[in-house]
Symmetry: C2
Subunit: 250 residues, 2 copies
């Protein structure tokens, strides 16, 4: 009754073409930014069937000799209109892989989803092309093509969780930023208000989370007292984590 254990990957004999099904493999990107105290996501409008006219996450096929990460980085550069150098520095994080048969009505497509966190950028748009693209407030990103509603929800969850125990929030900020701007990232992604003095204390108490930038000061939002500028530190993980208030299932 038990199937015998089989070694990994091995097709019955020397790559028997019948032993596996060919799949198309794509990447899908949930590119987030914080703009006007709202979390925005980059969407493109589909110009082809299926789901013609619907909004979707940007993405595309893996090229023959390209890893999923490389494909994601290439797509990100294309969609945001940033040159390779800039886009190469952006934070990209593999989320999950979606493989339900039937998630694409045309054919069997397995998609590796990535989340990207970018500072507030100019509107995407290189050549004025058929497909439109633009930043959409997360609350209005609904009824996307394919299973992209779910991918986007998963991406939001993951980013929110990662802010707790990594220094990821700095990826939403420009190279130099104020603590007020950093706090706004947390408040926007989590949708809660944080106590400023306590936030400040915790951030500064975490080694390598942020380091002071030399010289400058800047006003957050153009008003009030200018704040000291910081740069992202080397900390990958925050110890202790910066836990969000309240319970697990709001």
């Amino acid at each position: 009754m038990n199937a015998p254990p089989r070694a990994g990957h091995v097709a019955p004999e020397g790559y028997d073409p019948g032993a596996f099904e060919p799949f198309a493999v794509t990447v899908d990107l949930a590119v987030f930014t914080v703009r006007d105290a709202l979390l925005h996501v980059l969407l493109v409008q589909r110009g082809e069937e299926p789901y013609r006219g619907r909004w979707a996450l940007p993405g595309g096929f893996l090229r023959p000799r390209e890893s999923a990460e490389a494909a994601a980085r290439r797509e990100l550069a294309e969609e945001t209109g940033l040159g390779g150098g800039t886009a190469g520095a952006l934070h990209l994080e593999q989320l999950a892989t979606y493989s339900d048969p039937g998630r694409d009505p045309r054919m069997r497509v397995v998609s590796v989803a990535y989340a990207a966190l970018v500072p507030d950028l100019p509107e995407p748009r290189g050549g004025g092309d058929a497909a439109r693209a633009g930043w959409t407030p997360l609350a209005q990103a609904r009824r996307l093509a394919f299973d992209h509603d779910r991918i986007l929800a998963d991406a939001h969850d993951r980013v929110g969780a990662k802010l707790e125990y990594t220094g990821l929030a700095t990826a939403f900020c420009p190279p130099e930023f104020t603590l007020g701007e950093l706090q706004q990232v947390y408040e926007t992604v989590w949708g809660v208000a944080l106590d400023r003095p306590n936030f400040r204390r915790k951030v500064l108490a975490t080694p390598e989370f942020v380091t002071p930038a030399r010289g400058g000061r800047r006003r957050t939002g153009g008003r009030g007292k200018p704040a000291v500028l910081y740069r992202a530190g080397d900390a990958a993980a925050l110890h202790p984590p910066l836990l969000r208030p309240e319970g697990p299932t709001p």
Copy 2:
């Protein structure tokens, strides 16, 4: 200089077969268990080239109408020799997808890796077959085939992290377990000793982490005072998290 934005997934015209490369898609499983206070992983010995004779993570190709999760669950049932009913209840967690070109010398293979957490099971082995399979202490799982060393390391990291903020540790335990057994899971996965009274206090203070089982008592390891038995609760996330001692980069 900028490529124009393109809508997701769309091949240039109606599924142009040249627009994408066909890939083989597999799942690889890192199946963990705690046995004799050591973390063990299930490995199979390869009977074919490449890497003939080397140990590898169990896994296999996706079937035509099967999701990666379904394939992983099927492989898990096959490799552990558990019937579908039992295996269906086991904890499976998608880890990451590995897609480097050249990770398999034969052809382009994209692999979705899963971690599975199972209680201490009898030795795998259904029919006495060519390929051997067995539980290996994690420390001795070295020089695996393909990129499985890396997958296994990533899996261990992820499981360790998930113990902090989810109730996952109960997946390593039988349906009814003592707090001593649960603590042993944490100590084994993290490789640290925990203070028993404090561990107990935190676990019991977390709502829905564990619930008392009716009636029974049992000795952890056959010695000492019999302990009250608990069952896994409904808590998916632990609030507050059960953080592991010490710093981020040991």
